[in-house]
């Protein structure tokens, strides 16, 4: 079994020239965690995820204070919003490099790559490099586990 058998084929993507605000709007309306960024040939050039967007709102101290358990009330931070200037930046400034597998990639190889790169969704591309699907950890995991019942 390969990754193309379990991936989602109706992929929502965004162009690299779009703004952060537009990316957030698509993520909200489609209720998804990851948005592939593609060029005009539908080839992936990066990804922008929920985490990249939420980092814009997360307070600075979270990355410096090792243990924030003692902070029971984030106070002013809870109502902080990114500035209009930040939201109007292009997604290019925020996106992470795209890690992809080809459609005939095996399930365990795809899963191992996701573990190593700490990904929740894997982009699947055709032989000519075009984005054709996205497989989540759950998609791949369910496909792998489904064979267990047959033993």
């Amino acid at each position: 079994m390969n990754v193309s058998s379990c991936m989602k084929k109706n992929v929502v993507s965004i162009s690299a020239t779009a703004t952060v605000r537009e990316a957030a709007a698509i993520i909200v309306s489609k209720h998804i965690g990851l948005l592939p960024v593609v060029d005009k040939d539908q080839k992936p050039v990066g990804v922008i995820g929920m985490r990249d967007l939420l980092t814009l709102e997360l307070p600075d101290f979270v990355s410096f204070v090792v243990d924030v358990d003692f902070v029971h009330d984030f106070g002013a931070v809870e109502t902080t919003r990114p500035s209009a200037q930040t939201l109007d930046k292009s997604v290019k400034s925020l996106m992470k490099p795209a890690i992809t597998v080809e459609e005939d990639c095996g399930l365990l190889r795809a899963y191992a790559l996701m573990l190593q790169h700490n990904l929740h969704d894997m982009l699947v591309v055709s032989k000519d490099g075009k984005l054709i699907g996205v497989a989540s950890r759950v998609d791949i995991g369910v496909a792998v586990l489904s064979s267990w019942g047959k033993i």
């Binding site: 101290f61 984030f74 106070g75």
Partner: protein
């Protein structure tokens, strides 16, 4: 004797130039320079390996290592965060009060502990406190670096240049409390008022969420209360012995190392973790600089300098002292103050050998090296730490911002020190 002297000067000043240019890590440069000095010394027969070992001031290294071990053990207990959170609650979220309290806590810690470690630990908590109450952390971070630098000059153990000067001049812990502390108190208060004035606009902003700071529970920041208590008891004992070390004829390094040994036995920390928090590169840097200066001495350079100094000693001593404060301060603002201090120690010794009363000059050196660091971002390690932390936040400290606040602080503290120095000169 000309060739050894010329080569020793080339090796020493060549190393200093490389250190100041930051082309190579300062510890790597110092090791290479120290090794080269000994090799050349052996070839030309002016510097033996035994002499190189003797040139290392183990009193300085022992004191630094002992205090580093104590701080490294105290760091993971959460004690520093505990104090910062206490200060934040006591301020009730009022910016000016928070500013003063955090500055006082940082300064007191920096007077007895390594101020770099202090700032490394206090700065992130400061960021946290400022963010949750909704004010800019920038004034707080800058003042913590500036005031801990200033306050560190007050004690023998507050600042590496002081450790060096104390060891070279034979000043005791109490000598610093009598000669340095009073002047530092005035300079520190002057710096605090100046900073309150310079940051008036930032500090007059009404915080959006005072409630959040009152929700912080100091007790929860203490990860290991028992360990913290033990180390604090040992530290208090060490400070007590610092007060009487001179009367007991015990060196400060023995006090610090004994305290560290006692804490190690009592707490038995995980050693791999502990040793990662010790700044070995600083200790190696010091030791290597000592080896190089020893080479200068063996090559007869310092004798020649002393000869030159005899002419200098015709300058009125008071004027000489005040000039020394400013010259060292300007140098310390642009380069690391440790090599400056190490290089000037033999010069002052030379002046002493030529018959000049040098005790006042040692204090001038301490004030210049300590207060000069405020002037620029690169003037002190604590400055570099808060600036590089702020660069990863939404409110980075630029050199323009620093120069508008740090430079006035340097000028004010040096001026206050110069005036008081001139008035009190006869008592030094």
């Amino acid at each position: 004797m000309i060739l050894p002297a010329v080569l020793a000067i080339i090796i020493f000043f060549g190393s200093l130039v490389i250190i100041f240019s930051e082309k190579l890590h300062r510890s790597i440069t110092a090791i290479a320079g120290g090794a080269l000095m000994v090799i050349v010394g052996r070839i030309l027969n002016f510097y033996s390996e035994e002499a190189a070992l003797e040139a290392i001031d183990f009193n300085t290294l022992g004191l630094l290592l002992g205090m580093m071990l104590l701080v490294a053990m105290l760091e993971p207990t959460g004690f520093f965060q505990y104090l910062a959170v206490l200060a934040a609650r006591a301020s009730k979220g009022k910016p000016v009060r928070l500013f003063v309290l955090l500055s006082v806590v940082t300064t007191i810690l920096a007077m007895f502990l390594d101020n770099v470690t202090t700032v490394v630990i206090i700065a992130p908590v400061t960021l946290l406190i400022c963010e949750i109450i909704g004010i800019s952390p920038l004034p707080f971070l800058m003042s913590e670096a500036l005031l801990s630098n200033t306050g560190g000059v007050a004690t023998l153990i507050g600042d590496p240049p002081n450790v060096l000067i104390g060891s070279a001049a034979g000043f005791s812990f109490n000598d610093f409390l009598v000669h340095s502390l009073p002047i530092v108190l005035f300079a520190w208060a002057g710096a605090l008022f100046l900073l309150l004035h310079l940051f008036k606009k930032d500090l007059s902003i009404h915080p959006r969420s005072v409630k959040a700071v009152m929700q912080l529970n100091p007790a929860e920041t203490l990860n290991e209360p028992l360990v913290a208590r033990r180390i604090l008891i040992v530290l208090a004992g060490a400070i007590l012995f610092f007060f009487i070390h001179h009367a007991l004829h015990v060196s400060p390094s023995l006090v610090a190392l004994s305290a560290a040994a006692m804490a190690l036995v009592w707490v038995r920390p995980e050693l791999d973790d502990l040793f990662k928090r010790i700044e070995w590169s600083v200790l190696i840097f010091f030791a290597s600089l000592f080896v190089m200066v020893g080479g200068l001495e063996a090559a007869g350079v310092l004798e020649a300098v002393t000869g030159l100094m005899e002419r200098v000693s015709s300058i009125p001593p008071l004027l000489f002292g005040v000039a020394l404060i400013w010259i060292v301060a300007v140098l310390s603002a642009v380069v690391d103050n440790v090599p400056i201090t190490i290089a000037l120690i033999p010069v002052i010794r030379g002046l002493g050998a030529s018959g000049m009363e040098v005790d006042p000059l040692w204090w001038a050196l301490a004030f210049g090296a300590g207060f000069g660091g405020s002037g620029t971002i690169i003037g002190a390690t604590a400055n570099i730490i808060v600036v590089s932390l702020s660069e990863k936040t939404r409110t980075p400290i630029t050199s323009k911002i620093w120069n508008r606040r740090g430079l006035p602080v340097m000028l004010a503290t040096c001026s206050i020190a110069s005036i008081l120095y001139a008035i009190l000169y006869s008592t030094f």
